[in-house]
């Protein structure tokens, strides 16, 4: 079996007369839309805004850390900066990033559905997201909050007089926004599949979103109730988390991390889905070991619920349960390893081309491997004692979240951009951006591993001078990284008007979303397709295109 790659020449491609973009006009047609594609666009815009807001805070943090002295901003300002950076990036960018934008856009089409199961709820979740954003920003405008994004008690409940409740409210609402997204995805995956689209024919993108959605639906409510308790504790000082009144601050840690560790998988799993699509498409090959990759997603989702206390190894949990949680943590590392190796093996005997999404995907694999392996450092008890709460942690989760998730997000945006807008972005520039991002990232966060082992604590406003060299490197890298993120912003916007017409299937990908016009029509499919082929069946694609050619000519 073999397929010859034939990219369609894009000269004769034209924009379709009717698409979801021009079916209706006016602000109202956007703000009251039930169309998952338009909601995805709304999300894309708002998420981009919050990403750059959070990025700005990151920039200020790095700038402050350029010198050992606390000279750029005051201490509490610095604390507010990293708190806001954390809250915005985690709850308003990473969690909704891929699912709410790309997932929202392509997941129903991949399944051969006309829309998500509950369009109104989908819209509602966007509005909730916006309200959450407003709360968070108002917490910022009113004077900020300096609990750190973890809201650690009793600090957050008794020892701060900043706008903790406002910020917590924002997080609470954002949580419900993501609950509704996840609920929608699960129902859609179960109930809206086209005839013939069996579980083992759905693309891995959908599998990983399904797994992530389970985590969203089951994990987020616990965070919600925890934040409610924090707010009540703050308002009435009942002492459910206050040791002096007989409460246990560790209970907060348990409840908080019960969500916030699975949240890590909520963030990374959709990214993994993107990578599966991209790798397969640009090596013109079915993903190596489809079932293994699919089930590894589910495995991650399930194990993800059993490991939360590894955030508390030194915080006074019983050493026995520390033992158990460490063991389970080691287990959850395995499925990720499987995925990485399967992706690498997918390239074997492929016919690989290096378009921009592929470059980002390679970046993902490199950085995520490092991020994952350093996770093993922290998961093993003894090492965790020395490394936790230092810059090693910071570097680790930035490698997973930013190096992993953000790379995947950009890969996805570049991959589906022609489908979303119907236009191509400038190839050379985008490749440059990918490389710049990768280099900038390594330069920013690799020194932080060393800083961590040297013992530099995280969330430090001032630090001993001998750490300066590495911090300067890191800040320098951050500037490069910033450029790497600004570039796509610019040329993507440019491409909206001047980009070359993409045509329906510029990458010759097999997903159902590539078989319809781009940008797609509002109802996605004039008639619901009947699926008679496996996912990533390039053979079938070749025959299909052949067939089309003969019918046309």
């Amino acid at each position: 079996m073999s397929t010859i790659v034939r990219l369609p020449n894009q000269q004769d491609a034209t924009l379709p007369k009717r698409s979801y973009l021009n079916s209706e006009y006016g602000l109202k047609s956007w703000l009251l839309t039930g169309d998952h594609k338009r909601i995805a666009i709304l999300y894309l815009i708002s998420i981009t805004f919050f990403f750059f807001l959070g990025g700005a805070f990151a920039g200020l943090i790095r700038l402050e850390l350029l010198t050992p002295m606390p000279d750029l901003v005051a201490s509490d300002t610095y604390n507010k900066l990293f708190t806001m950076h954390g809250i915005i990036m985690v709850f308003l960018f990473l969690v909704p990033s891929v699912p709410a934008t790309i997932g929202n856009f392509v997941l129903p089409i991949m399944l051969g559905a006309r829309d998500l199961a509950f369009p109104k709820i989908n819209l509602l979740s966007w509005y909730l997201y916006i309200v959450a954003g407003i709360f968070t920003v108002s917490a910022l405008v009113l004077g900020g909050v300096d609990t750190g994004w973890t809201f650690t008690t009793p600090l957050s409940t008794h020892y701060l007089n900043t706008h903790v409740i406002t910020a917590a409210m924002g997080v609470f609402i954002a949580g419900f926004s993501s609950i509704f997204t996840g609920l929608n995805f699960i129902v859609t995956t179960h109930r809206m599949r086209a005839p013939g689209m069996t579980w083992f024919r759905i693309p891995l993108f959908v599998w990983s979103h399904y797994a992530a959605s389970i985590l969203m639906v089951l994990g987020t409510p616990v965070l919600a109730i925890t934040l409610v308790l924090v707010a009540l504790e703050r308002l009435f000082g009942i002492g459910v988390f206050d040791p002096s009144k007989g409460g246990d601050p560790l209970l907060f840690q348990h409840l908080f991390w019960f969500y916030s560790h699975p949240a890590v998988y909520i963030m990374i799993l959709p990214g993994m889905g993107v990578i599966s699509e991209v790798i397969s498409t640009f090596s013109r090959k079915r993903v190596f070991g489809y079932t293994a990759v699919a089930f590894s997603s589910v495995a991650i989702a399930v194990f993800g619920f059993f490991v939360w206390a590894h955030h508390m190894f030194i915080m006074g949990v019983s050493n026995y349960s520390a033992l158990v949680f460490s063991l389970l943590t080691m287990l959850v590392a395995v499925p990720s390893a499987i995925k990485i190796f399967n992706w690498a093996a997918t390239l074997y005997k492929g016919s690989i081309t290096f378009e921009t999404p592929m470059l980002y995907a390679f970046g993902f694999m490199g950085l995520f491997t490092i991020g994952g392996l350093t996770g093993v450092f922290l998961g093993s008890l003894g090492m965790d004692i020395h490394l936790t709460e230092t810059y090693f942690i910071v570097a680790h989760f930035h490698f997973v979240m930013v190096g992993g998730m953000l790379m995947a997000y950009l890969a996805g945006v570049h991959f589906w951009w022609p489908k979303i807008t119907g236009r191509m972005y400038p190839e050379g520039l985008s490749k440059l951006a990918a490389v710049v991002t990768f280099i900038g990232f390594i330069l920013t966060f690799f020194p932080q591993f060393i800083l961590g082992y040297l013992g530099m604590p995280r969330r430090y406003h001032a630090y001993p001078p001998e750490f300066q060299v590495l911090n300067v490197l890191s800040t320098a890298g951050a500037t490069v990284l910033g450029i790497g993120y600004l570039l796509p912003m610019i040329y993507m916007t440019w491409s909206l008007k001047y980009g070359a017409i993409a045509g329906s299937n510029p990458w010759q990908a097999t997903g159902l979303e590539w078989q319809i016009q781009s940008p797609p029509p509002t109802e996605n499919f004039l008639e619901i397709p009947v699926v008679d082929h496996e996912a990533y069946d390039y053979e079938w694609l070749a025959n299909k295109t052949q067939h089309e050619v003969t019918t046309v000519g």
Partner: protein
């Protein structure tokens, strides 16, 4: 097209052929059946999140009950078991009337539907009324956590009721009452939401929206109402019953 495709096509045709388009069938669903299933499944997932939402509170309750058992016993003994039992019965009854409502909707029996919905509303309000009485009791007894909390009448959980509980332990009764108010309050909030939805349903039902074959709205609200009932079924023993007797 290979034979398999054809087969699937045909099967698809079969699924499509009874493809009537009633007004309540949303555009993106193929069949009424699909919509019904999707909606109820969605409702179930929502209830899942509700389980986890209350789960956090139950966790806190379990922990502190184990830590401050005596305080929980004496605090729990100040709750009116009679009112609690009545409320449980009322709520179960309302669950029954709700179930009957669903049944009537399926039977396309408008009058029955209206009656049972109103009955459900009534019982729900009764429940909230009794809860208000209990809350007021707590208020008068200064058992509302916070500044005005008094540890006067917490006695040592021996069977003779006069020995006052040691102050440091009595203070922890505050945690019990915090959890009591948090849990029952959260539950009451769900009741209030449910009742307000019920009014809307009642109105639409009177415009016979649910007695023309499209019952899933009623079905799913029923699920919600029964879930709220279940939460109470657990809150009742946890708060009123299991801590009445000291272990030693």
């Amino acid at each position: 097209m290979d034979s398999q495709t054809v087969a699937i096509r045909q099967q698809a045709e079969i699924e499509h052929h009874e493809h009537e388009h009633p007004p309540y069938l949303r555009h993106h669903f193929e069949t009424v059946e699909q919509q019904k299933e999707a909606v109820s499944f969605g409702m179930w997932l929502f209830l899942l999140t509700e389980i986890m939402f209350f789960g956090g509170l139950f966790m806190a309750y379990l922990l502190y009950r184990n830590w401050y058992y005596d305080a929980f016993v004496s605090a729990s003994n100040t709750l009116g078991i009679g009112l609690g039992t009545t409320n449980t019965a009322v709520l179960i009854l309302s669950s029954f009337t709700m179930a009957m409502g669903v049944y009537c909707a399926e039977m396309r029996n408008k009058r029955g539907l209206l009656i049972s919905l109103s009955a459900t509303i009534l019982l729900g309000l009764v429940f909230l009324g009794i809860k208000t009485i209990e809350y007021h009791e707590k208020y008068t007894e200064h058992h509302i956590p916070g500044a005005s909390f008094s540890i006067e009448d917490f006695t040592h959980p021996t069977d003779k009721r006069d020995v006052a509980l040691a102050p440091d332990m009595a203070q922890h009764a505050q945690i019990f009452f915090f959890l009591y108010f948090a849990m029952t309050g959260m539950h009451a909030l769900h009741m209030i939401i449910g009742i307000s939805i019920l009014f809307a349903l009642l109105y639409k039902a009177s415009k016979d929206a649910y007695t023309k074959g499209h019952t899933s709205t009623i079905d799913n609200f029923g699920l919600y109402w029964h879930f709220v009932d279940i939460v109470w079924i657990f809150l009742f023993p946890l708060l009123y019953l299991i801590s009445r007797h000291p272990l030693h």
